[in-house]
């Protein structure tokens, strides 16, 4: 019998030895630096200006921007070690929610990038976990539409970063075949866009655009041109039934489908393929698509960017809108002051830095003083010498401010279903009323 106990004990010991052995090696190799609160008990007092950890996604865009910021910041403050960790956006959301939801600060970063549509949801769900940035930068220096999603009750928690300003990317060669030039497209309505689409299809056989039926991004773009959203102005109550802009957007969506000018796609790669292989004549989306369009270098000189169409039936609708875009947040964990200082001295005030962002990675910020800089007026040979950055910067200022609230994606999942019903013949008012009821049941 004793033999038995010894064996079991030995096994247990072996196990713990193995696991701690593995752990030990790990810890020493990383120098014990894994963001914030981990060593809060023992070491936080000792190393004040130590190290900040930042989470962001997209190696070619946000991560590159961070690296530039890090380089510039370390010139003025070489004592801070900046540790940039790349994670996919969905992964960041999952990690952040789990960490914050567990109520501990262990393992959390100091700075994190959050998409504007989701920002309020985080700020609301974990109100004490974000560090207020109000006095560290001048919010009035940023595009007005970015300030809403990044603040709560007039207090700023996020430092605005990239612009999700939209444009209509068009294939000039296809349009020419149908008898249009970019000059004809400067202030389109969506109805005109559909008409052009039909003519282009007739002349070239190509679809006008490609859409993913599970992603209503285009609806969001349309309603924001009129300053409307899925929620009311306070970002609290669902505003679907009786939302005229949304109604018009739904009608336009159906018209596009019925006009047979839409090439359906099932994911991002197929969306990218649609314009890379020349299957569509236009791409109405955020400026960040630029890099993917330019990836097919054989199409150089065949593209132009014109303002996004507006809603004809909505009096306040303008030819400017937004899709996506994100901002920086500082978590309320040890190292927050250093983190806030890093953001303030780079993304928050450095005009030169923004010039570098534009030339190095084509990232358009929302920091208004930067847009007068030289890099913003450069001509792009891919777009026949069009000054695309200057155009985007100009449109950014016109984007209507809306309150995204905390429920964009819940409501969108409901609308996706009702959109299918509407396309299959359900009356529009019924669809939106039903969506309203479901949204009210879910959002509370």
């Amino acid at each position: 019998m004793k033999k038995w106990l010894t064996v079991v004990l030995a096994v247990m010991l072996l196990l713990s030895a193995c696991s701690s052995g593995g752990g030990n090696k790990q810890d020493s190799s990383s120098g014990g630096g894994n963001g914030g609160g981990d060593n809060s008990g023992s070491a936080s007092g000792g190393k004040e200006a130590a190290e900040i950890t930042i989470w962001a996604w997209d190696p070619n865009f946000n991560i590159k921007a961070l690296n530039i910021a890090k380089e510039r910041y370390n010139k003025i403050n070489p004592d801070v070690k900046i540790n940039i960790v790349e994670n996919a956006q969905a992964d960041i959301i999952q990690k952040l929610n789990t960490g914050l939801g567990s109520g501990t600060t262990t393992g959390l970063p100091n700075i994190v990038l959050i998409e504007d549509y989701r920002a309020q949801s985080f700020l609301k769900a974990f109100p004490d976990m974000f560090y207020e940035l109000t006095d560290t930068f001048n919010a009035a220096d940023f595009a007005e539409y970015k300030v809403g999603p990044t603040s709560v009750d007039g207090r700023n928690y996020g430092l605005p970063f990239d612009s999700g300003v939209t444009g209509l990317f068009v294939r000039t060669d296809y349009l020419a075949e149908a008898g249009y030039s970019p000059d004809d497209l400067q202030a389109l309505t969506w109805n005109e866009f559909i008409e052009i689409g039909k003519n282009v299809k007739e002349a070239t056989g190509k679809d006008m655009l490609s859409l993913d039926p599970n992603d209503l991004g285009i609806i969001r773009v349309m309603i924001q041109t009129a300053g409307k959203w899925y929620l009311d102005e306070n970002g609290e109550k669902p505003f679907l039934a009786g939302n005229e802009a949304l109604k018009e957007a739904f009608q336009l969506y159906k018209e596009m489908m019925e006009a047979d000018i839409v090439k359906p796609n099932a994911d991002w790669s197929q969306f990218v393929a649609a314009f890379n292989s020349g299957d569509v004549a236009s791409v109405p989306t955020g400026n960040w698509i630029n890099a993917s369009i330019k990836a097919e270098s054989s199409q150089a000189g065949k593209w132009a960017v014109v303002p996004i169409p507006r809603l004809a039936g909505q009096p306040g609708s303008v030819n400017a809108s937004n899709l996506g875009g994100s901002s920086w947040y500082v978590l309320n964990v040890p190292g927050k002051e250093a983190a806030a200082d890093f953001l303030a001295k780079t993304f928050g005030s450095d005009v030169e830095f923004y010039q570098e962002l534009v030339t190095e990675i084509g990232a358009i910020g929302t920091y208004i003083p930067a847009s007068t800089g030289e890099a913003y007026s450069a001509a792009d040979p891919f777009y026949n010498g069009q000054k695309t950055i200057a155009d985007f910067a100009k449109w950014t200022e016109d984007i209507p401010r809306v309150n995204f609230g905390a429920h964009t994606y819940v409501i969108e999942d409901i609308l996706v279903v009702e959109m299918q019903n509407y396309l299959n013949g359900k009356p529009l008012d019924d669809a939106l009323n039903d969506a309203q009821k479901q949204a009210e049941a879910q959002v509370r």
């Binding site: 196990l15 696991s19 593995g22 790349e86 996919a88 992964d91």
Partner: protein, 266 residues
């Protein structure tokens, strides 16, 4: 029979072959669904090596998968054997309760588990957040493997245990000298499955591993696809490389599945 197997094998392997082909094409070729091999393999490879530390991630995954497989097989087979051979009403009840642990979606356990490891980080940092041990610990004992070994033990001939006792072997001796060698195909199957699930494990490592230096292969691959302008050629190359170790483990282990093994040991 060959026709049926041939068709099944082809259908099974076709998407993989397409992936291999895609890894030789540039991103634009992949998004266009090109089916012809290209010449872009080395460009994809060098981009990959430049962008991410593939070797380190492979090493991390390998260490975790090997330790997990070894420990899980040991613990799981001991328990599966114990529950079936030393059956009692109390043990049956405990076994049934253990089965419950695999019925709850892991997503529901993540927040409490994270809290537990965060607490451990304060007490014993070596098994806290951001360590390999934290990845391994929750997968060391699974009801899945216990259940699998128990069901297979039902096919184990009990006379062999009696024979062992007569030969003067202790209970553990019977397990090690008779059960383990006889059931080696069961161990092979369990090893394949455990290695594979550890290698592909995503949700928990994602949450618990924080620093770049500790990331496993699936986490890195997830990063590659996160860009606004992903390089699909490079992603396919990475995935082909990530698949090879498990495929190799399988190919080596399946040789143990030879009909009529029984009787050759004894």
């Amino acid at each position: 029979m060959y026709l049926f197997l041939g068709v099944t094998a082809f259908v099974s392997i076709f998407p993989f072959l397409w992936m291999v082909v895609s890894s030789t094409n540039p991103s634009v070729g992949v998004t266009k669904g090109r089916l012809m091999p290209g010449t872009h393999l080395f460009v994809n490879l060098s981009n990959l090596v430049e962008q991410i530390d593939l070797v380190r991630a492979l090493a991390n995954s390998l260490v975790i998968a090997l330790i997990t497989t070894g420990l899980a097989l040991l613990i799981g087979s001991l328990a599966g054997y114990g529950f079936e051979i030393y059956r009692s009403r109390a043990k049956d009840a405990v076994f049934n309760i253990l089965l419950l642990s695999m019925m709850i979606p892991f997503a529901a356990l993540m927040v409490p588990l994270y809290r537990m490891f965060a607490w451990l980080s304060g007490k014993m940092p070596v098994i806290g957040i951001d360590t390999k041990a934290a990845v391994i610990l929750p997968t060391m004992a699974t009801a899945f493997l216990i259940f699998f070994f128990r069901q297979n033990t039902k096919m184990f001939e009990r006379e062999m245990i009696e024979a062992g006792r007569i030969d003067g072997l202790g209970e553990l001796g019977i397990f090690l000298r008779i059960y383990v060698p006889t059931m080696r195909t069961t161990y092979a199957a369990a090893a394949i499955i455990t290695f594979m699930s550890s290698w592909n494990n995503y949700m928990w490592p994602l949450v618990v591993l924080q620093s770049d230096a500790k990331k496993t292969i699936p986490l890195l691959i997830s990063n590659l696809g996160s860009s606004y302008s992903p390089d699909y050629g490079m992603i396919m190359t990475a995935i082909v490389i990530a698949t090879l170790p498990t495929a190799l483990v399988f190919f080596l282990m399946q040789k143990h599945f030879v009909a009529g093994m029984l009787g050759s040991v004894k």
